[in-house]
Point group: C2
Chain length 140, copies 2
């Protein structure tokens, strides 16, 4: 058998208040939706605005074709390899396509890194927020 | 309407060969499995060994309770906020619990950061590997 090192960091659940705070200023997360062969998990640019997460995609993207008006998840995390610590937040909600006339004017903060016609605005209003934080390991 | 900046980086699909190369030396990824309320997406320590991804978890974890012998996904990515570039790889497979006597001796490379009884070894043999790379944006 392999050697198991048990001196790891403590994993603690985050309260929703803390999850909201961590989502503020987020630029990148991963959107996931179920498929028969296993969930799709795709990095996307995100922004938190008025209690919802927004993203922009192409009208022909897999997200638009497969995931609209269905339960999806958005995962955001931060990992520090040096201290072996980090946190993650998982947002459950439904991906809703928002018509351009209903997109808030101040959503210009939502920059999308890849080029392309990202004219489809998707809003995810969280129905559940969970998260966990991993403290740095204590060395024996 | 919002101002749309179209000078983004180019998003290109990765070949399986490149995906394998990116998985080498990986320490952290996200395991995802379907649930009615939206996929679970959980960061985990991973290691690639002999063409399979391995992770260790607690026997009572949600992963063991909900995701064994079902299609799951593992997502690994690297994001550079400064240059707005990065890559991601998505592995599809089935999560298979491996009895301790069948765990390869040299799997001690699989360190788990959180403390706890991570005595359940899970192997995911990829059935599909896809990925994409986002090049740095060109400035106009």
């Amino acid at each position: 058998m392999t050697t198991i090192r048990e001196q790891g960091g403590r994993l603690a659940a985050l309260m929703p208040y803390d999850c909201w705070a961590l989502l503020k200023g987020v630029q990148v997360g991963r959107v996931a939706w179920s498929r028969p062969q296993g969930p799709a998990v795709v990095p996307v640019n995100l922004t938190l605005l008025d209690g919802a997460l927004w993203l922009r995609t192409s009208p022909g993207s897999e997200l638009v074709r497969e995931a609209l008006d269905r339960p999806i998840s958005i995962e955001v995390d931060e990992v520090d390899v040096a201290t072996r610590s980090g946190w993650s937040v998982l947002v459950l909600g439904t991906a809703e396509l928002v018509m351009s006339e209903d997109v808030p004017e101040h959503l210009h903060v939502l920059d999308v890194w890849p080029s392309g016609p990202h004219v489809a605005y998707v809003r995810v209003s969280p129905t559940q927020l969970t998260g966990r934080r991993l403290g740095a390991a204590t060395h024996p």
